[in-house]
Symmetry: C2
């Protein structure tokens, strides 16, 4: 087959590829990363590149204008190489890759009454009698006898890898050793205990015993490093999921995973994110990742499938089933987590294709499964999952909100870390904003809570109308037509950390409207299905990685949250990682999560039209039916 | 460091090595295999090579004469390269590498009353209801529900590897599938069942379900391929253990394993033997090795340690303890067996450093643990292990007999396969022999039973004296001084398969005397320790890979077996592989072996001098104290 030379402007060397190679594939070979937020389906247009020499065959030109094509633009995921060519990649919307610590949502200490007895993982200090000619007991039996005397447990499982080292460790410590044992696992609650590691000598009894709770979000991965001895969270870190550039939502990721090598690539990307977060968290407490001896993982069903390399296609295709909702207990080595290779990795159980382990964990940590009154729980993330119920029953549904509230898919969006504008007020006369920045530094962008406040203020002050259109006629330079269409300038370049204006564009506003509409539609459909008015809800528990600091007034103003007395709302931060943390500490919590997952009733929204109607109605500010928002009506009527 | 060029005559290219490299290491780099029966300790002299150009530094010259050294001979394991040199490797005593089937020791069918209910491994035919929008149950739960309906078992464990394939298999078979399950394992007798594999469609219910029983002897590896559905042994194969060239006995192997890379090398060698036997056996029944779904392994403690790559040094050094006597249940993938990667590999439990799983298995299959009368069990192999007892109690000891009775360490020795002389008679007037060859073909060598008969006949006819000296003065060309010293010619070149004389040398006779003396010494020490005369033994059960056909009269004549009425002796063939086979079929047999291993009392012979004295006394024909052999005394007195 004929081969052609492809030069990418940003690559250090050209590549040779055969006729018919996808441009995105040629880019990969050249070491050039091109983002594909739609997963390479040719839908989003973000992978557009400019062919400056030679030509390519365009299989699809969706989102490209005739002028674009005339100027040589082509979609990298939809165009194939048919001759020598040179390609320039336009500056792409950058996703914040900076590794940051989540704003501490308060110091986390163990739940009241936490005891290491609730914890299957423990260290046991041993002093053995050395063998002699009168006692030729084998090393492994000798060790088990010593363990039995200390723990009362009769037999232990051990891996071949560890068995190979036992004799040397016992002799290196002169028959004094510290065993790391796991008394039971999720799969075998009454099963044999396991020897996880053996160290020569005695480890000080108060030396931390590290565990890690992980939440894999579609957009954000959060990790808590925990001392299992006292249950205290010693480090909290978070970063964007490395898979984002291969699809912004779960559907795009599943499509990407179905390509040749796609599943392996996505698996490696998320493992890279997790392992680098692990390294950061461990460094902060002066531990080694190999010191981490247990992990629990929450995440939506697609994220769990992709983490484990399990085909996820059936999630996307009717009748929308997962390969599994309950994952067997794994060891870190096979799961690919860079902690102690024999550490247990427990992926928490999910409910259905679109209501995963993050929600089971969230219901536990929010306390909904123990609520006496009618409670609504929503996890505001890339997928907006909603649960309605009490301790007696729970129903749940999910909708795709997109990553806007996590700061992705918004031009100057960012995560809630240092430099993020987290709250905004706009003067209704001058249209001048005031803002608060996390860390009190010059702003770098706007995080989820800031975006909610900003949208609310823009609406309240009339900068945008109910459909989200920017009034360009207002007498302020803050409102203008920019590179991306109409926009509002939140901060001028000289005020910012990076010297460029921070703006909210019309496109951003549309993304935010879609996100809030999807979440509100979830609430209303669920209430409707249960035949009760949404207002009958006595408390609304809100989880999400944007933290605890949403302004309820503004969230109601834009129609993200239903119009109810403010005291009914409680913001809980990342409920998924907190649920994973509780399961990490206590086998009773782990049992409760499984119970929640198996009891919850899932309502499939794709099965009827009610969701789509509710979503369309909610695309306005605050809602098409403003009667649903009496307090907003009152404010706007002033 | 200076480098030198070393040319091996038999290698296709010279190698470059630094000053101080061991010659054996240089040979390995050159791809030249030099046998080291003593494990590289410089004891056996078998690795002697001739330096034809240049010179080497000899750290030891044990077993080399002054003339040898003058002619350039050096021990490859004890000499280091200090300059360019050329090396010739003399023809080495070849160990038969021919892969052969053991003489069938009779067709083996399942023990009476065998039922697959005794067998934890089984196939389950499933027809599932496909998912739809009314039933969005996940694939894994759906599969478990179907399994529960068919088996009554609630939950199953599954590996991540298999979990990745389940969805595709279910859909490929249109929701009709065959599950391979294991209901329990040795480690978890009441633990969760496990899904081992899943195949699309229904496998015919009478298609064989393959298991394999393996005995790893120091010299010989034996493998039985079994249809678990009916318990019938469908193929029996055996070959020399590939580790032989790295040491003839367990001590030499342990020393070799302690070298850099030695343990890995020995592990690979035995795995190569096992996996090639597996391939042969499977080919014979038209199966694939991956169709084999369960394995049990017997072997002495050193063999089990080396198979698993577990350090074995403590076996050799006082106080002689193993790393473990009970091995955890393994999967074939981690054990390195080339069968179904998720097949359970169960290494049977041993008793002590020198009484391993082969003896626990042998006691079971010989029935000693159920014997009403005083019983002696001996496993005639490279290690001569002896057990004395009844169903009430058992004591055991071990001694190193060497591989002579397995045909190794004897110039024209071979295994009991086609072409082996298995019985011999010598005319006391003419000293002409008559022999019987397995398969009725021209002889290629002499197997264990043939060697026993030959030694007995040589003694009976006066060709050798009580010390084993060959009477060179006899009027027959059969007795002569050969290349290796005095020898007796069993077959002339023109009568043999390979056109060369088959002889028994003085060195061979010494090896046979040492082997039989060690075994007899074991009997007598054990009886002495128990304070009973050896003659009080009511039955003698004899296991060993030389098969069923030892001539008892001759075995008593040479003092291998005690002088007792012949009807007290029973030859059982390879009792170790038979025990492994019983454990493969039936969990009750497996439990009984563990029981045997834990109850047996081990007597450490190295702890006192009684064994050495008994051994020295037994180095004569039949024994120093001929009064112990009244029937031999009567025959010889004639």
């Amino acid at each position: 087959m004929a081969e052609h030379t492809v030069r990418f402007e940003s690559a250090h060397a050209p590549v040779r590829v055969p006729t018919g190679t996808l441009m995105i594939e040629a880019a990969r070979l050249a070491g050039v990363d091109i983002q594909q937020p739609c997963g390479g389906q040719g839908r989003c247009g973000r992978c557009a590149v400019q062919v400056t020499e030679g030509s390519v065959r365009r299989r699809s030109t969706l989102r490209l204008s005739t002028e674009d094509i005339a100027a040589g633009y082509a979609l990298a995921c939809q165009s194939v190489i048919e001759g020598d060519c040179a390609i320039t990649i336009p500056p792409q919307q950058k996703i914040e890759r900076l590794l940051t610590t989540d704003r501490m949502i308060g110091e986390v200490t163990a739940p009241p009454g936490y005891s290491t007895a609730a914890q299957p993982m423990r260290r046991v200090a041993l002093t053995l009698t050395p063998p002699d000619m009168q006692d030729q007991t084998d090393d492994w039996s000798r060790l088990q006898t010593a363990l039995r005397q200390k723990t009362g447990i009769g037999t232990f499982q051990v891996s071949l890898t560890l068995l190979r080292r036992i004799g040397a460790v016992l002799r290196a410590g002169d028959w004094v050793a510290t065993a790391l044992i796991e008394t039971d696992t999720w799969d075998c609650p009454n099963g044999p205990a396991r020897l996880v590691d053996l160290l020569p000598g005695h480890v000080p009894s108060d030396a931390p015993l590290w565990g890690v709770a992980i939440d894999i979000g579609t957009t954000t991965v959060t990790l808590w490093l925990v001392d299992l001895l006292n249950g205290a969270v010693q480090a909290q870190v978070a970063d964007y999921n490395g898979q984002i550039a291969r699809g912004e939502d779960v559907i795009s990721r599943i499509i990407y995973a179905d390509r040749k090598g796609g599943s392996e690539e996505l698996r490696e990307l998320v493992l890279k994110t997790i392992n680098s977060l692990l390294a950061t968290a461990c460094k902060r407490v002066q531990a080694e990742p190999a010191d981490v001896v247990k992990a629990t993982v929450a995440g939506n069903s697609t994220m769990i499938h992709l983490l484990l390399g399990i085909p996820a296609q059936s999630i996307r295709l009717s009748p929308f089933v997962t390969a599994m909702n309950q994952v067997p207990t794994l060891q870190a080595g096979e799961a690919g987590l860079n902690i102690h290779p024999e550490a247990t990795v427990d992926c928490l159980p999910g409910v259905a294709s679109y209501v995963g382990a993050d929600i089971s964990a969230g219901v536990l940590s929010s306390g909904l499964d123990d609520a006496e009154s009618m409670t609504l729980f929503v996890d505001v993330g890339t997928n907006g999952e909603t649960v309605l119920g009490t301790r007696e029953w729970q129903v749940t549904c999910a909708c795709s909100a997109g990553p806007a509230f996590e700061g992705a898919g918004v031009l100057h969006g960012m995560r809630a870390t240092q430099g993020a504008i987290e709250d905004v007020w706009i003067n209704s006369d001058t249209f001048e904003p005031t803002w608060r920045v996390i860390g009190g530094v010059a702003p770098r962008g706007v995080c989820g809570s800031g975006l909610i406040a900003l949208l609310g203020e823009l609406f309240l002050t009339g900068v945008i109308d109910r459909s989200g259109n920017v009034k360009l006629t207002l007498p302020t330079p803050r409102v203008r037509r920019g590179e991306h269409g109409p926009e509002y300038v939140i901060a001028w370049g000289h005020e910012t950390a990076e010297g460029r204006d921070i703006v909210l564009t019309r496109v951003d506003i549309d993304n935010l409207l879609r996100a809030k509409a999807a979440i509100y539609a979830g609430f209303s459909v669920l209430a409707e299905k249960m035949g009760m008015p949404l207002e009958a809800t006595e408390q609304v528990l809100i989880g999400g990685s944007f933290g605890k600091y949403i302004n309820v007034e503004k969230a109601v103003l834009i129609g993200l949250l239903p119009d109810m007395p403010w005291e009914r709302f409680r913001f809980l931060g990342n409920t998924a990682v907190r649920g994973a943390y509780l399961a990490l500490l206590d086998r009773a919590a782990r049992t409760r999560i499984a119970d929640i997952a198996s009891r919850m009733t899932y309502i499939e929204l794709s099965a009827d039209n009610s969701f789509y109607e509710a979503f369309t109605s909610a695309l306005f500010l605050p809602h098409t039916d403003i009667e649903r928002f009496p307090t907003v009506q009152a404010v706007m009527g002033k």
